[in-house]
């Protein structure tokens, strides 16, 4: 076997450019497959981690969005009613709006969350959704024109950093910044301003509407049971539960996971297509190889090569192309995975997404590239075997 590889190495290095271009096809394919799988499993791992971090004691109630507008409205009254549902320990109504925010004469549209100041820490705090303070403090009972800002609002939205003690205008009304959150890696959370629910609703003139209600179940309560009760309550109050989502955190993450899976399938499909293209490249090169080497095949046969030996010589060429491409593809895949990790750490926050190329994945990719090479080489090698030595020598 080693002898065949040695011979193939001679062949492939004899046509360096052609071999390289053929390799490129396999390299890209394997690289794509390896990086896609590593990203996919990284996403899955981070999703699982998030799920564990969040715990599973929360139910989210929000209107279904149809044609860009909410299909129904929720009010403080609904929130209070949900608060009385057996098994619900705590309920926090929220109002979110994209509003104009001015800082040092720069005006930007920023997402604003109105939250009951007293419940802010319990709703968003550590252990729950994972917000942690970088500077300052949480909103407290009695805070009216105070705001806590996400890391993105602090460092990125305006040309100058917004810090604790600074004043910002929300829809023309002055608010004092009392706290800054650490980077969470979730863009939505990082680029949001948190302020008093009633004040924000006043400013934007929306009465007692809420856009999201977060209910936390009592310790030991069956979360699914609580969810169903809330759903039934809404049905009673609103005549139908069709216009609302009542979801546990787990369900939300599952929905996100679903979306990831779709992405994975799409990218996996693209990677598979590029692998097929790589295989066709090998087959093409090998057909050319056999045509060009007709005379050599005649010599091999005249000097006593059996059909099996000729077959092996050409299969080895194709297999070597496959494996060499696979090897380079795996290495590039590892580099891409490392690059993604570095980028994710920088833009999303440390440890949010960690992709890995496991030894098993690398081995699978190599084995697969070997198979691709061999399969692509079978037909050209068969043609070489079928050549009549007399004809071949005359070529």
């Amino acid at each position: 076997m080693l002898e065949y590889l040695r011979f193939s190495l001679r062949n492939l290095s004899h046509h360096k450019l052609r071999s390289f271009l053929t390799l490129l096809g396999v390299i890209i394919g394997i690289m794509a497959v390896v990086s896609m799988i590593s990203i996919g499993s990284g996403m899955k791992a981070s999703l699982k981690e998030q799920l564990e971090q969040l715990g599973s004691d929360k139910v989210f109630i929000l209107p279904r969005i149809a044609y860009g507008t909410a299909a129904a409205t929720l009010t403080d009254g609904d929130a209070e009613a949900i608060g009385r549902v057996p098994g619900v320990a705590f309920v926090s109504p929220l109002y979110s709006v994209a509003g104009d925010v001015t800082y040092r004469n720069e005006r930007r549209i920023v997402k604003i969350y109105g939250v009951d100041p007293e419940k802010a820490e319990a709703t968003f705090g550590a252990g729950a959704s994972g917000y942690r303070l970088l500077k300052g403090r949480w909103l407290q009972r009695g805070d009216r024109y105070k705001a806590v800002i996400g890391y993105g609002v602090h460092s990125d939205v305006f040309s100058r950093d917004v810090n604790v003690g600074n004043t910002i205008l929300i829809h023309g009304v002055e608010f004092q910044v009392v706290g800054v959150f650490k980077k969470t890696g979730d863009r939505e959370k990082d680029y949001t301003i948190y302020a008093n629910l009633d004040v924000i609703r006043e400013i934007f003139g929306v009465g007692d509407r809420v856009t999201l209600i977060i209910a936390r179940a009592e310790r030991g309560a069956d979360i699914e049971e609580v969810r169903l009760r809330i759903e039934r309550l809404l049905e009673d109050r609103k005549g139908s539960d069709e216009n609302f989502f009542v979801m546990t955190q787990k369900e939300i993450l599952e929905r996100v996971g679903e979306a990831y899976r779709v992405v994975q399938v799409v990218f996996g499909g693209l990677a598979a297509v590029s692998l097929i293209v790589g295989a066709i490249g090998i087959a093409n090169t090998m057909v050319m190889n056999v045509t060009e080497r007709t005379r050599e095949i005649g010599v091999l046969k005249a000097t006593g090569a059996s059909n099996a030996q000729v077959m092996k010589i050409f299969i080895a060429d194709a297999a070597l192309l496959g494996v060499a491409g696979g090897l380079a593809g795996v290495l590039l895949g590892v580099l891409i995975s490392m690059g993604i990790n570095a980028a994710a750490a920088h833009y999303l926050g440390e440890g949010v997404l960690t992709t890995t190329v496991t030894p098993a994945l690398a081995a699978f990719a190599l084995a697969f590239s070997l198979i691709i090479g061999v399969v692509a080489g079978i037909y050209p090698a068969y043609r070489a075997v079928k050549l009549d030595p007399v004809e071949a020598l005359r070529a």
Binding site: E3, R10, N11, H14, R295, E296, G298, V299, L300, K301, A302, T303, G304, A305, S306, N307, A308, Q309, D388, P389, V390, L393
Partner: protein, 224 residues
């Protein structure tokens, strides 16, 4: 007899046309003989060479090489016979360009399953025998025509075959290197190899002890 042909007919089909390359040749070549096969082009020389070299099977009749009838052999049995019994020397040298002289000579031994170290050792000895001990690691493109043909002769000797078949071995060489090749082949014959040479060159052909003249696919004359 190391080679025996009985009423050998070979018909080629070129599209719809049948070409009768050999029409009933009988010939016996004793072991250790020095034979030249001569004749105008189209007389069937190459076809006869291919049959003696076990590259091809006859349409009818029998071809015995060292006692084995090749007409009933399959591809692999033919390959095995060539590997063991026949060494080819071609007009075009037919060396493999990407391999060194040493590797070219070692090639037939690879097919015979001889371990790498042993075949490299023997290839080196053979190249020294043909006077190319200094050219072991040169590729064919770096060698002169005469040197290439000597590499080809060393390769023909690799598996120590009974028969050396040379098809116009001097056809692409100048007179002096052609002469050197002829003398080398004749030396091998003196050492006991059966030497069969196909040639246009009358002077070369006359040197053989047994001279077969072909015309129109038939043996016109055998001189001894």
């Amino acid at each position: 007899m190391v080679i025996r042909l009985e009423e050998v007919v070979k018909v080629y089909r070129l599209g719809r046309v049948e070409v009768r390359a050999l029409s009933g040749i009988s010939l016996e070549i004793p072991r250790g003989e020095y034979v030249s096969i001569m004749g105008p082009s189209g007389s069937g020389k190459s076809t006869l060479m291919n049959l003696i070299g076990a590259l091809d099977r006859p349409t009818s009749g029998r071809v015995y090489i060292d006692g084995v009838d090749i007409s009933g052999l399959n591809d692999d049995q033919l390959a095995l016979l060539r590997r063991k019994k026949v060494g080819f020397v071609f007009q075009q040298f037919n060396l493999i360009g990407k391999l060194t002289a040493l590797e070219n000579v070692a090639l037939p031994m690879w097919f015979a399953g001889i371990p790498r170290a042993a075949r490299m050792r023997r290839a080196k000895e053979l190249l020294e025998l043909v006077g190319l001990g200094e050219r072991l690691h040169h590729k064919p493109a770096e060698l002169s025509g005469g040197e290439r043909q000597r590499v080809a002769i060393a390769r023909a000797l690799a598996n120590d075959p009974e028969i050396i078949l040379a098809d116009e071995p001097t056809g692409n060489l100048d007179t002096s290197s052609g002469m050197a090749v002829i003398e080398l082949l004749e030396e091998l014959n003196r050492l006991g190899k059966t030497l069969v040479v196909v040639t246009h060159d009358l002077d070369f052909g006359r040197r053989a002890r047994m001279r077969v003249k072909l015309r129109d696919g038939m043996v016109r004359e055998v001189e001894r």
